[in-house]
């Protein structure tokens, strides 16, 4: 069976075709770099994504700062991870690079602040 993919690793968005028989990947074609094949194999077995969101900041020049995951997580864990992110409340000043949740949901990915927010 042939399956079509649009690679999301980089903005090139390669159109990749994978041939799969009985759960085995026979061939992967169309990618312009090795990450494309890796992406398709991952996508066929256990798709992973990163997400970004915001968390509350008390006493800051903005009411929220932004956060992102440091590593991709299984796609079906996105909403459980969002629930954890939503519980976080920080106090200004906050600095980009600060880890606010280590190993979130045991997924070996951290939730990291991506924006400096100064105190008001």
């Amino acid at each position: 069976m042939k399956k079509q993919f649009t690679c999301i690793v980089c903005p090139n968005g390669c159109e990749i075709e994978a041939e799969v028989e009985n759960g085995q990947v026979i061939s992967v074609t169309g990618q312009t770099c090795p990450r494309g094949e890796q992406y398709v194999r991952q996508e066929l077995t256990a798709p992973r994504r990163t997400i970004a969101s915001s968390v509350l900041v008390k006493g800051g020049e903005l009411p929220v700062t932004s956060v992102r995951l440091t590593k991709a997580i299984p796609k079906d864990m996105i909403f459980p991870v969002m629930d954890e992110i939503r519980k976080v409340v920080l106090t200004a000043p906050v600095k980009a690079g600060t880890i606010v949740l280590h190993n979130v949901c045991g997924l070996e990915s951290d939730v990291m602040v991506t924006k400096n927010v100064a105190a008001k």
Binding site: T6, C7, I8, C10, P11, G13, E15, R49, T50, I51, A52, S53, S54, L56, L62, P63, V64, S66, V67, R68, K75, I78, F79, M82, A96, T114, K115, N116
Partner: protein
């Protein structure tokens, strides 16, 4: 009036990259004027990742990408003024700005236009119906959520398949809203294919092509929209109307370079890009005024904005130092299938970076540059789509000093 070598209008990705590169080129007497209270421009609210893959080799969020340049600006002690709105620019490069310390005027040797772009709004589309609250451009909704912690609504319809609209479809879904569908007027998506996958498909949000909103309902707050299919001429087909209940309509229907300032200075605007006409030095028709980034032509990727601004800075530095830049008299014309090009003028002597967008979907095509009928550069493409800007280098060695260039899809 203060004398400056360079005044940079805009402290977003284009202005920041230009400032850092100008500093590297030895320019010291400059200032960045930024309208917002903080540097960083639109990147401050683009909290998703995917920025910097080209430039830093890793996937950063918008704020991190901006901070990397802000840190450089601070390290190099490049002066900037925030909450400073430029009110006018003249052909002899006098920049007037309203600042926290009152009106300021600068006489600049060179001016860098780096004001970015604005979103096309409901008014520009002329959608009939009532005028309730709940209709937002995608960028406004993004600012509400990511900067001010305000949720625009719960039941969402998105018109337009621009990248920001798709990114907001995912963002609102993650925060508990129900995004019913994205409707696109054109027969093809306007955003990047990867965003269709990771922002729509991942969350089972359907994308309907050749559809548009034909009426908006609701007195105080939006209660619903009418959606119609459109024909090949983008006209709604009678009898295809469907009602959708929603409290929020997000518009992601195009970006327009923010070029109001150019009028007073007499800077010519290309109707295809809505940005200035520029030559291979990214100089406008007014000597000493340069333009790059989204104010010149709307980009897909900030990495390319930075690179374009850095190229601009090298030319602007040469101009300021009186090294002179070659006069550019040869037109670059859009041939078959090409919507616009940057630059629109070249000297015929130097290598230059050509940026363009095609007008349709093409497979296994070549983008060809011809001068006097002779092929002088080409790029082979597996696919070429309007959503993706195409860039490649044209070598000056093959160019003649006379004869317009024409770029076409073959």
């Amino acid at each position: 009036m203060e004398q400056k070598d360079v005044v940079i209008i805009g402290g977003g990705p284009a202005g920041l990259a230009a400032a850092v590169e100008l500093h590297k080129q030895g320019i010291r007497n400059m200032i960045i004027l930024e309208r917002e209270a903080m540097l960083g421009g639109i990147l401050r609210q683009c909290i998703h990742d995917g920025f910097g893959l080209g430039r830093f080799g890793e996937s950063l969020s918008g704020p991190e990408y901006a901070q990397a340049f802000i840190d450089e600006v601070n390290k190099r002690e490049i002066p900037y003024e925030t909450s400073a709105t430029v009110l006018s620019l003249t052909a002899d490069r006098v920049v007037t700005a309203s600042t926290r310390n009152g009106l300021r005027q600068y006489q600049a040797k060179a001016v860098v236009l780096a004001m970015g772009c604005k979103e096309r709004s409901r008014g520009a589309l002329g959608i009939p119906g009532e005028r309730p609250a709940g209709v937002f451009t995608a960028g406004t909704a993004q600012a509400y959520m990511n900067l001010y912690n305000r949720m625009p609504g719960k039941e969402v319809i998105i018109l337009g398949s621009g990248d920001i609209g798709m990114i907001m479809a995912r963002r609102m879904t993650l925060e508990g809203a129900h995004v019913q569908a994205v409707f696109e007027l054109m027969p093809y998506p306007s955003g990047l294919p990867r965003n269709i996958v990771q922002c729509l498909d991942d969350y089972n949000i359907p994308l309907y092509l050749s559809h548009t909103v034909t009426e908006i309902h609701g007195r105080d707050r939006l209660t619903g929209v009418t959606i119609s299919e459109v024909d090949a001429n983008r006209r709604p087909i009678p009898g295809t109307e469907k009602e959708y209940k929603c409290d929020t309509l997000i518009l992601s229907v195009g970006l327009i370079p923010e070029n109001k300032l150019l009028e007073d200075a007499g800077i010519a605007i290309d109707p295809h890009t809505n940005g200035a006409f520029v030559d291979e030095n990214l100089q406008t028709n007014v000597p000493g005024v340069f333009s790059a980034g989204n104010v010149l032509h709307v980009h897909d990727l900030v990495d390319f904005v930075s690179m374009e601004s850095e190229a601009l800075a090298r030319h602007a530095a040469a101009y300021v130092e009186g090294k002179g830049i070659d006069p550019c008299t040869l037109d670059v014309k859009c041939g078959e299938g090409v919507g616009h090009t940057i630059p629109q003028k070249v000297s015929g002597k130097n290598d230059f970076n050509l940026s363009l967008r095609v007008r349709n979907h093409y497979r296994d095509c070549r983008i060809v540059v011809r001068q006097n009928g002779v092929e002088v550069a080409a790029k082979k493409m597996k696919k070429a789509i309007p959503a993706e800007m195409i860039q490649f280098k044209v070598s000056g060695a093959k160019l003649q000093e006379e004869g317009a260039l024409e770029v076409s899809v073959e």
